[in-house]
């Protein structure tokens, strides 16, 4: 069972068996850690020593590693180039023409890249191991508004959905002779006949999706039930509380370091 519009990858792992809110709490804790850990290398350590082993335990190390790097690489390149060469006052370590590479800029870029890597890794871990519909049900059961939970779910799906629709339109336009390969100008010109049907088509799709939801009583007020039984245990409930507390403590500790 797989859904082409989510990253969820079915595996028989302990991480997959966790209650969605437990995984969400864990990821929230790791997210806070990646922001508050001091130093340049701590977020890399978090990624390598915590997130990667967790991905390994979840049976998804290859995809996890590949997607993390794919997502972070464009940020890393621009960060190192911009911060390295355009850091205000700093220690030059290499001159390239009129520009000079500053060590402070590189350190900042390395720290920011590490944080982005750890944050991306945390969310990928959640996406790979937690069914989005189960997360939506769990949030609804905890009193989160259904519509907000649904928006969260569809937000996860929006990029692959757009991609699938864009590919279908692109194929249709190509079959009518539109040139989509070649020089940059040609590629840009090919974008126009793609964007209009993509945007208009998506708006129409949204309208029909809204009707489909209403037909299925989504807007009905009153108590709702769930077919899925989300397994939860006392240990997990305790772990969730501890993770939330730990995240709050880490954030408070960092703030204390800044202000005192």
């Amino acid at each position: 069972m797989s859904d082409p519009f989510t990253l969820y990858t079915a595996r028989e792992s302990a991480l997959h068996r966790l209650h969605p809110l437990t995984t969400l709490s864990l990821v929230a804790f790791l997210f806070v850690l990646s922001l508050v850990l001091p130093g340049v290398w701590a977020p890399y350590l978090l990624y390598g020593a915590v997130l990667l082993p967790l991905a390994l335990a979840g049976g998804i190390p290859g995809r996890f590693l590949r997607l993390s790097l794919q997502a972070v690489l464009p940020f890393a390149i621009s960060l190192f180039l911009i911060q390295g060469f355009f850091w205000g006052e700093g220690t030059p370590i290499l001159d390239v023409g009129p520009l000079s590479l500053k060590s402070e800029g590189l350190a900042f870029a390395a720290r920011s890249t590490g944080r982005i890597l750890a944050i991306v890794g945390s969310f990928l871990l959640l996406s790979f191991t937690t069914r989005p519909d189960a997360l939506m049900i769990a949030l609804s059961q905890r009193g989160v508004n259904d519509k907000i939970a649904y928006i969260m779910l569809t937000t996860i799906q929006i990029v692959p959905r757009f991609q699938a629709k864009a590919n279908a339109i692109l194929d249709a336009q190509r079959s009518r002779g539109l040139e989509t390969e070649g020089r940059l100008g040609q590629r840009l010109r090919a974008l126009l006949p793609l964007v209009q049907p993509l945007v208009l088509g998506s708006i129409l799709d949204m309208e029909e999706r809204a009707i489909a939801l209403e037909v299925r009583a989504f807007g009905r007020r009153g108590a709702k039930t769930s077919l899925a039984e989300l397994a939860d245990t006392g240990r997990q409930r305790l772990a969730r509380r501890l993770l939330v507390l730990a995240a709050a403590a880490a954030a408070a500790g960092r703030l204390a370091l800044v202000f005192f």
Binding site: D133, R209, E214, V215, R216, F218
Partner: protein, 278 residues
């Protein structure tokens, strides 16, 4: 079951009414087909029967629409969900995206109705069996073919046990086998004598075979109402922007060419054509 009385509707900024003076009733146990050229008002009628007009699509309206005794124009759409169901033409857009498997997708509406789990399971199994999706229950809705997705859309609405099922061109993206399956399924549905089905369609051959009754819409007005075989064989069909079935056309050509005797009623269905050309 369905009572629509002198109903008219005009979309905002439209110059003419999309529906004008529509008046008919559909009793429980009847499969009623609605035909008409594009723009005749079929989809508007579907939205009016299910409450999406005037609650989702706003505009000027008059008259009344009642389904199972409930005033569709006054009640909220969500409150009508267990009474009247709607299936439309694009199967893909009817998948909510909120659930992972076919079984869970069917459950989505039942969860919103707040049904207890055992009743949900019973209804899901029933809907899967009726629509022939039992073997696909564990699959992702996105992994199904267009025809299977349309059957899933129907199953999802059927599980909510509406007294009235409205379908807007449900077979427009299906192959001939899938089209026939859907019409056969609708025929079985009304067989319980408790459900009324209204299906808007261009598939006149299948409407002639399976429907009890045919309504023809022409530029927003109810142009004809009667038995499908009578209306589809009538000479005035083309005046309403509809094309006779291939059997009627073949028979008419045969009569014109002197290959078949004139004066007999023209066939509409395959069965009738077999008799005609015997």
């Amino acid at each position: 079951m369905i009572e629509i009385d002198d109903f008219s509707f005009r979309y905002p900024r439209a110059e003419v009414e999309a529906l004008a003076g529509i008046d008919f009733t559909v009793p429980a146990g009847q499969l009623c087909a609605v035909a008409g050229a594009n723009g005749a008002g079929k989809s508007t009628l579907c939205y009016a029967l299910t409450g999406f007009i005037p609650h989702f699509y706003h505009g000027d309206f008059s008259g009344s629409v009642r389904v199972d005794g409930r005033d569709v124009l006054a009640e909220e759409i969500a409150a009508l969900a267990g009474t009247v169901g709607l299936v439309f033409s694009k199967p893909f857009n009817q998948i909510t995206g909120a659930r992972f498997t076919v079984r869970e997708e069917i459950a989505f509406g039942l969860e919103n109705l707040g049904l207890p789990r055992p009743e949900m399971v019973e209804r899901i199994d029933e809907a899967l069996a009726v629509t022939g999706l039992v073997d696909l229950a564990g699959r992702s809705p996105y992994a199904l073919s267009g025809g299977q997705q349309q059957r899933l859309a129907i199953a999802s609405v059927l599980a909510m046990k509406p007294q009235v099922l409205v379908l807007d061109e449900p077979t427009s993206q299906l192959d001939p086998v899938g089209t026939r399956e859907i019409f056969a399924l609708l025929r079985r549905l009304v067989g319980d004598g408790e459900t009324a089905v209204v299906v808007c369609t261009h598939e006149l051959e299948w409407a002639a075979v399976y429907a009890d009754r045919l309504l023809i819409l022409d530029r927003g007005r109810l142009a004809a109402d009667g038995a499908p075989v009578d209306l589809l064989a009538a000479a005035g069909l083309v005046d309403h922007g509809l094309r006779p079935t291939r059997y009627t056309e073949a028979a008419r050509l045969a009569v014109e060419q002197g290959l078949a005797p004139s004066g007999r009623p023209l066939p509409v269905t395959l069965e009738q054509a077999r008799e005609f050309f015997r």
